[in-house]
Amino acid sequence: MDRAYKVYSIQNGTVIDHIPTPLALKVIRILGLGNEGIMTIGIGFRSKKYPAGKDIVKVENRVLSHDETDMIALIAPDATINIIKDGRVFEKRQISLPSEVRGILACPNPNCATNKLGAEKHFFLEDRISVTYRCKYCERATVIEADLLSSN
């Protein structure tokens, strides 16, 4: 009950729970959420699963698509997604790594066309277990870490 007062429940929208602290802001960046209404961010809640704490993001009045929520798996594969309608959980959603990722991951190879010639950032999933993606342009395989989220 203590927690309910710290992050208010929402009537309609998407709740992303069990994000390892401090990745909530990176989840928002991955989703490209900006000025789209009310969003509540909670950072550093106690969690049995995450001794270092967990974060919660609540997006009001917006049901995120599967393609959008799958992006969260890039940095928080164990996050849970609840779609809320009229104050009740309408859908508990599993997430899985997207087969391709455009725009949001920066290729770590400085000599890649995405870094030197302005090609669009674009990766394909190579291995689910190690979370490895291959750059469409320089073809290097990269294990995804939160640091690779591009700043633009």
Binding site: N111, A113, K116, L117, G118, A119, C138, E139
Partner: protein, 307 residues
């Protein structure tokens, strides 16, 4: 039915087994039948944003022998890029002047990016440390031409297996033909883990070894030699010692068996002794010469002049 018409050729990773067979078979057709003027009325642009005289001349010779026209840039200083025009604008412009663009560029992924900027097909003639697919096509054709098959061969690859793009592309292609691979290198230049994982995933039989003499036990059909570069070693003495231990000499032929074939992408420095050149084991000059029919076949396929 495989068709390459209007298709860009960027990476061995894009190729299926049937694609590779089609290119090898078409190369054989070109070499044996010498079809006349299949590139008549076709124009090829060779855009070399970094110098590579051998590859450029090989492509230009291939176009001319096939009855086509060719123009291009031989070094970046002579292009409008030196005046600040973007790569994308250069490609979009030249795409309207020709039927196919052959592109070499120091940036990895440049050829793929170019292939997305217009409908004119692009042939990758080398993009940084990434891909150089026509080298792999001519290697495959040479093996098929000399040994009569590409299936299930025992192939050793020696030298710099960590950084060599030729080695990675060739390895990828050979796995499609079910080759048994023996990798021979100093530990610091061994095949990267991600490549080995790909082989594991595809259940390819391979082995790693440090000592060239140990390869003698495995009855290899081919030894593919690549250069170990001095820059990879901090200590010049260490380089001399390591490079010397992988030098191919008459003695190496005795150890590996008299039927062993020696391949090399060229240019070589001193990794193969000159005494090998006149032996029937040496295939590297045949490889270099096969670059012409291989590139003729490729430009013919992507322009539709051959099918």
């Amino acid at each position: 039915m495989v068709s390459f018409k209007n298709r860009s050729v960027i990476s061995i990773r894009d190729m299926s087994l049937d694609d590779l067979k089609k290119i090898v078979d078409t190369t054989r057709f070109v070499k044996e039948s010498n079809p006349p003027d299949f590139m008549r009325d076709k124009t090829v642009a060779t855009l070399f944003f970094e110098p590579s005289t051998r590859t450029r001349l090989s492509f230009e010779s291939a176009v001319l022998k096939s009855g086509g026209s060719v123009f291009g840039i031989a070094n970046p200083g002579s292009s409008s890029q030196s005046k600040g025009e973007s790569f994308a604008d250069s490609i979009r412009t030249v795409a309207g002047y020709c039927d196919v663009m052959v592109i070499r560029h120091p940036v990895e992924g440049a050829a793929r990016m170019a292939s997305e900027l217009s409908d004119t097909p692009v042939i990758n003639a080398g993009d940084g440390a990434n891909q150089h697919p026509t080298q792999t096509f001519l290697d495959l054709f040479t093996i098929k031409e000399i040994l009569g098959t590409l299936d299930g061969l025992k192939i050793g690859i020696v030298g710099d297996l960590k950084y060599g793009r030729t080695v990675h592309s060739l390895t990828h292609a050979l796995t499609l033909f079910g080759a048994e691979l023996t990798f021979i290198s100093p530990p610091a230049l061994a095949m990267p883990e991600h490549m080995l994982k790909e082989l594991d995933d595809r259940k390819i039989h391979y082995r790693n070894m440090e000592d060239l003499e140990d390869a003698g036990k495995h009855n290899l059909d081919i030894l593919y030699v690549t250069r170990i570069q001095k820059e990879r070693f901090g200590d010049p003495q260490e380089y001399e010692k390591v490079a010397g231990s992988y030098r191919i000499t008459g003695e190496t032929i005795e150890i590996l068996g008299k039927d062993i074939r020696i391949m090399h992408p060229l240019p070589r420095v001193d990794e193969i002794a000159e005494e090998i050149d006149s032996l029937p084991n040496a295939l590297y000059f045949t490889q270099a010469h096969n670059g012409i029919p291989t590139r003729q076949a490729l430009i013919g396929l992507v322009t539709g002049g051959l099918d």
